[in-house]
């Protein structure tokens, strides 16, 4: 559905003429004339108004009854009164009713001081109550979940939380129980409300009925300061506001940005802040002495690192993890390319993609934006699971489908939580993304040209079979994309372009895109879900073995991460530099990486926690900043450059990482002349042609999409399709074994493991199986099994899911123990009972 065209009308509120967009609700439109109409249940983010609280009653000339401003769209010439005696009476009546059962325990309520009910009572209330009967009582507070406490006496039954659960996150867990004055908010079956987005209801609650368990009684509003920045938890890069008290982050709130997050946060982003302040955090430089990491002074750590790197010279390599900022990434490649003469820098997990393909996949002409998902005719979600990989996208896609009738198509190996909303779903074998894209391309070719087209008969069947998918399902999905309209957005996971055949997969994807989305057409194109938070930015600032800053050509070409690991395992690499990455945890091929870390003479890491690989093998560890301490810029998957601003001081001996890398560079004789965070940003903007002219001031609190700026012309030439492709390899036939698919859930993250509030969500390995496969192997839900391949094995608990394609098993990667990355082999694994 295309975006509605704005149309301005004029109406009068309290005698004041105001211009507003047609169709805007009166409660919002009145604000344009500086008139506030009090509301409780109304929240535009939640969709259609419900008119339940009756707080916003206003008088509209020509209509005898008072009307709810939240549900009345403004019309040209409408005359509205919000100050008449009748309106005042109604407002006082509603507030008197609402306060009948409210305990008025504001002095001990977390919400006191930032409470809409309090504010509106002061502003519009009757001042005194005539109610002398006993109030309604509930046991309180109760744990709605380990993260949320519910105080039902404070609840004014505005429905916001229930609507969020039903209509935004669509987890359908919260309901109103009972009826009338006995109503209360609850989960249907009394189970804890655990869901990826549950924390949003705390922020939505207009009273203190839903409070954050970790924040309860930690501060009053006058103790705290708000500080805006960006969450680094995932590529969604939601805008957040940290609540800071005495240099500690006590809470994370959403800082609504419709271009990025729509005002929602996932629970990992909302509660992960606790990881900033745990004892496990590394806060001093560490050097391994006699097998043990001991805290040392910065000078010693830097000297030793400089000596190690200087000694290794070009026999060194660096990896940057997703939480690396643009500035840190740029400095890292300066350090390696400039000071050490080593081309081995990478930020991708697995395999190298030609520079021109990077340029093609992210070309401004093909770049879709996040809001495009809301208004597209069709969206294809390809090889990713938004709720796990970039949670904010999940909500955005649901919104588009629910409110604007976007046609959704889902193509993935693992069943997706979006399946139920999709008009077409295709399941293909794990790792067969390339074959699927080829099959889809073929199917689109058939419908493009009609009968007698160039597409050979039966080719879709062949390709679908190679992908382990159903040809008719591929055709149905192709039809959804082809018939929807011109605004088609493809959301694809970076993992599609990983591995040995990532290059072919990227070309196949570009062929599909060429058929459904016109280059240069606004509202259509590609949107990547990178594997790391700043995946896009790191590639753009040159943390790639085959591209310099600005995706410029580079010679010689360095080793990509997997090759680097193999090379180090073979003893050819002397020093490894790990910036916010632990290969054992974050990268595939654990066995190789373990050998590599063991074999390398020096393993230098920036880390805030000593995860397994660093704990065992790092020789020098620099304490890394938490993301509330960082300054710099990151680039959103849709090209929006966003600014990080430090909210709290760095604890103990922690130093800014740009400063550490610049210092090392200087010690190694390559002075980059970066003396402040702002200088680092300026250097990045200078170095990258398509960032040219950006300034931190211009980025401000909202960021800027560089593809929409004139400097985007500096984007390098791309290798555009359509490509003639060889036949993709057939997905391995299970033949008794099972195809291994991996995924990373929203909870597979360091902060979940260390933040006290989130620890209960820590993931344990589970093997997702189709019931038929499980029955064949004599396994039942909950059984413990060993999944093995080529001598490597992990332990897991069986979980039966009928959506899993038969012949496949899914294991989780990125978790601390028994991670799927332990398994090496040709994509086939054996599952055996323990």
């Amino acid at each position: 559905m295309p975006r509605p065209a704005p149309d301005t009308i004029a109406f009068t509120v309290d005698g004041l003429e105001v211009n507003a967009p047609a169709g805007m609700m009166l409660a919002d439109a009145a604000k344009l004339g500086d008139v506030e109409i009090p509301v409780f249940c109304y929240e535009p983010k939640l969709g259609e108004p419900v008119g339940a609280c009756r707080m916003c009653l206003v008088e509209i000339e020509g209509i005898p009854k008072l009307q709810t401003a939240c549900s009345t769209p403004v019309r040209d010439g409408m005359a509205v009164n919000t100050q008449t005696a009748r309106v005042k009476e109604a407002q006082e009546a509603v507030l008197e009713f609402l306060l009948i059962n409210h305990p008025l325990d504001c002095p001990v309520c977390d919400k006191g001081g930032e409470c809409p009910l309090q504010d509106i009572t002061y502003g519009w209330g009757p001042g005194r109550s005539r109610f002398i009967e006993p109030k309604r009582h509930f046991v309180k507070p109760l744990a709605l979940s380990p993260l949320i406490a519910i105080d039902r006496e404070r609840c004014i039954l505005c429905y916001r939380c229930v609507r969020f659960s039903q209509e935004i996150s669509e987890d359908y867990q919260l309901v109103l129980q009972e009826r009338g004055a006995d109503s209360y908010v609850s989960t249907f079956d009394g189970h804890p409300y655990v869901a990826p987005f549950s924390g949003n209801i705390i922020e939505l609650c207009p009273v203190g009925a839903l409070t954050s368990q970790p924040y309860r009684f930690r501060a009053r509003p006058w103790d705290i300061e708000g500080s805006g920045s960006v969450c680094l938890g995932c590529p969604g890069q939601c805008n957040v506001e940290y609540t800071v008290r005495d240099e500690r982050v006590l809470r994370v709130l959403s800082r609504q940005h419709d271009g990025v997050d729509d005002g929602w946060l996932c629970d990992r982003g909302r509660f992960g802040y606790q990881s900033f302040h745990v004892d496990e955090r590394v806060t001093h430089p560490l050097v391994r002495v006699d097998g043990e990491l001991i805290p040392v002074a910065w000078d010693r750590a830097l000297d030793e690192a400089a000596a190690a790197l200087g000694g290794a010279g070009s026999d060194s390599g660096a990896l940057a993890g997703g939480k690396t900022t643009n500035e840190e990434g740029w400095l890292l490649q300066e350090l390696f390319r400039g000071a050490l003469g080593s081309p081995n820098v990478d930020s991708r997990a697995d395999g190298m993609l030609p520079r021109e393909l990077h340029a093609a996949l992210h070309a401004p002409a093909l770049q879709a934006t996040v809001p495009d998902l809301e208004f597209a005719h069709a969206v294809l979600v390809l090889d990713c699971e938004p709720v796990d990989d970039q949670p904010s996208l999940d909500l955005r896609i649901r919104k588009g489908v629910r409110r604007n009738g976007v046609k959704l198509a889902v193509a993935s190996s693992r069943p997706s939580s979006l399946d139920a909303n999709a008009a077409a779903v295709v399941r293909y074998a794990p790792g067969a993304g390339e074959a699927f894209c080829a099959a889809l391309n073929g199917a689109l070719g058939e419908s493009d040209a009609g009968p007698g087209s160039a597409t050979r008969k039966g080719v879709v069947e062949e390709l679908a079979e190679a992908a382990g998918a159903d040809a008719d399902a591929v055709r149905a999905l192709a039809a959804v994309l082809a018939d929807a309209g011109e605004d088609v957005v493809i959301v694809y996971g970076e993992r599609l372009t990983h591995g040995a055949r990532g290059e072919d997969a990227a070309r196949a994807l570009l062929n599909v895109c060429g058929r459904v989305a016109e280059a240069g057409h606004d509202g259509a194109g590609l949107l990547e879900v990178p594997a790391g938070t700043n995946g896009r930015g790191l590639r753009e600032v040159g943390v790639l073995p085959n591209a310099a800053p600005g995706l410029a050509p580079v010679s010689p070409v360095g080793l990509a991460s997997a090759e680097l690991g193999a090379s180090a395992a073979a003893g050819a690499i002397s020093a490894l530099y790990l910036l916010h990455v632990d290969p054992l945890r974050d990268l595939p091929g654990r066995a190789t990486w373990r050998a590599a870390l063991q074999r390398a003479d020096h393993v230098i890491a920036h880390a805030d926690f000593l995860s397994e690989g660093l704990w065992e093998y790092a020789t020098i560890v620099f304490p890394a900043e938490s993301y509330a301490e960082k300054e710099g810029t990151i680039t959103h998957p849709d090209g929006r450059v966003q600014r990080l601003r430090p909210a709290i001081a760095r604890p103990d001996a922690v130093r800014a990482e740009w400063n550490v890398i610049a210092d090392l560079s200087k010690r190694l004789g390559h002075d980059v002349s970066v003396l402040s965070g702002a200088m680092a940003s300026a250097r990045v903007f200078e170095a990258i042609p398509f960032y040219a002219g950006l300034t931190l001031d211009e980025l401000g609190g909202r960021g800027l999409r560089w593809p929409a700026r004139p400097a985007a012309a500096g984007w390098p030439a791309a290798d555009t399709g359509p490509f003639g492709l060889e036949t993709p390899p057939h997905a391995p036939t299970p033949n008794g074994a099972l195809r291994l698919g991996t995924f990373r859930s929203i909870w597979a993250a360091q902060e979940v493991e260390v933040a006290p509030a989130l620890k209960f969500l820590r993931q344990r390995q589970r093997a997702e199986l189709h019931p038929v496969d499980a029955e064949r192997m004599g396994l039942a839900h909950g059984d413990r099994v060993t999944v093995g391949s080529n001598g490597s094995r992990v332990q897991a608990t069986v979980v039966l899911r009928s959506g899993v394609p038969e012949g496949s098993v899914f294991l989780e990667a990125g978790i601390a123990e028994e991670s799927a990355s332990e398994l090496d082999g040709g994509g086939l694994v054996e599952v055996s009972p323990q």
């Binding site: 549900s71 109604a90 509603v94 009713f97 009967e133 004055a181």
Partner: protein, 441 residues
């Protein structure tokens, strides 16, 4: 003389609930006429000409309601509201029990006029026997070709399903009914959009009461203009009234609109028992503001009752004689509405609870006359400020009782305080005569 009988003409004929007897009595002939000789717009014109107003409570002109259905090519629905949950109302019950085919015929005619192809009867869960009768009648009608595809060879098709509610008053409110029918919690929806535009499953929907639909075949048979001659200018036709309470012959009666209320209460229902006088009466169900014994001579039609600041509502007349204390009536009523409030909007949810609390205090003598002012003011705060009319349905009768019987309320407080050892200063007075006297004020 109560005028012509239309709906109840053959109502007591044995076996009228079967299709054979119904057809022998001329049943389904109107449907045949409609489907073979008329256009949908002509049916709407007939309904408009008849002046038929909705019999469920709101009294909205039925023809106009159907004419609001947009003429677009989407699935449209007709829903028959058989929830009949208004206390005192039991006319639809008799109609469905004794003449289900009249309703089905009306549904098909209404659906044809509206262009609806799917229809539902939402019947209250307590009507077990009636639901079984309708289910059987639907089967008969389908077998006889009056439901299903291509009815009577006209090309018009209609499916009809019976859905049993679970006994919530709010599901008689049309949008609450739709939510319930969709499988959701039965809460009223915000209007607009009105059901005519976005009703069941977001499609255009006509919702009519059982009696309204059952009248349609008769209007087709006699012609709209002819029907309009019955009754008064603004309240055409006949109406089924359910008379209950302190009368000697409670029951359903069909009357011509516009006859005097005394004729119904005394003439048809026999008036209160010997020696008793009418203290007050609800002219249109428990949610209509009460009228007193002085109002018995007003004409029973939509406009006259509205002028008397009450309403015809569902046509359920509840008579209260002078043996009943007004406070107990008010308390019973308020408790009902408190129990049935869905809780979605603030004034109704909190106002009904508060009113019950205050009335309980009044009843126990723990109140003062000032509480009566607060009670009256709370009713004012509810009326017109709610999402649907349930709040008003309590506030209007309670408000009218407090206004019209204030003396009795005050006397009741005094008497109960005297009786209640915890409330007053003096010793409890064991004499029940005092209480009786209070109620007789």
């Amino acid at each position: 003389m109560t005028g012509p009988t239309i709906l109840f003409e053959d109502i007591d004929e044995r076996g009228l609930n079967t299709i054979d007897v119904y057809r022998r009595r001329g049943g389904y002939e109107s449907l045949r006429k409609v489907l073979t000789t008329m256009q949908p717009s002509e049916v709407v014109d007939e309904l408009m000409a008849s002046g038929l107003r909705g019999r469920g409570g709101a009294g909205f002109p039925s023809g106009r309601k159907i004419s609001f259905i947009p003429k677009v090519d989407v699935d449209k629905y007709l829903v028959c509201n058989a929830d009949e949950s208004e206390p005192g109302t039991f006319k639809d019950r008799e109609l469905m029990q004794k003449s289900p085919h009249m309703l089905i015929e009306g549904i098909v005619i209404g659906a044809f006029a509206a262009g609806a192809t799917k229809s539902f009867i939402y019947i209250r869960g307590e009507y077990v026997e009636q639901a079984d009768i309708i289910d059987a009648a639907i089967v008969e009608a389908r077998e006889a070709g009056f439901l299903g595809e291509n009815i009577l060879g006209s090309g018009f098709g209609l499916t009809l399903h019976l859905h049993r509610g679970a006994g919530a008053y709010i599901c008689g409110e049309e949008t609450g009914l739709l939510d319930s029918l969709e499988g959701k919690r039965g809460n009223p929806r915000l209007k607009p959009p009105f059901p005519a535009n976005q009703g069941l499953y977001q499609g255009p929907t006509v919702i009519n009461n059982v009696e309204t639909l059952a009248t349609m075949p008769h209007i087709i048979k006699m012609g709209g203009a002819e029907y309009a001659k019955i009754g008064t200018e603004t309240s055409a036709g006949t109406k089924l009234v359910s008379v209950s309470g302190n009368v000697q012959r409670p029951g359903n009666y069909e009357i011509e609109l516009g006859i005097s209320s005394r004729e119904i209460i005394y003439g048809l229902a026999g008036g209160p028992p010997e020696g008793r006088a009418v203290k007050m009466w609800f002219p249109g169900g428990s949610s209509s503001p009460v009228l007193t014994g002085d109002d018995l001579d007003i004409a029973y039609d939509f406009n006259t009752l509205a002028q008397a600041k009450s309403m015809l509502g569902s046509g359920a007349i509840i008579v209260v004689d002078d043996s009943v204390p007004v406070v107990s009536v008010a308390l019973k009523l308020a408790k009902f509405y408190k129990h049935e409030s869905c809780g979605k909007c603030t004034p109704c949810r909190e106002g009904t609870r508060w009113t019950v609390s205050m009335l309980e205090r009044v009843d126990q003598g723990l109140a003062t006359p000032m509480d009566l002012d607060i009670m009256a003011s709370v009713q004012e705060q509810i009326i017109g400020n709610c999402l649907c009319v349930l709040g008003d349905a309590m506030a209007m009768p309670i408000g009218s009782m407090v206004a019209k019987f204030r003396d009795e309320f005050e006397a009741h407080i005094e008497a109960a305080r005297a009786r209640n050892p915890w409330a007053g200063e003096g010793p409890p007075d064991p004499d029940p005569v005092l209480v009786q006297g209070a109620s007789g004020a």
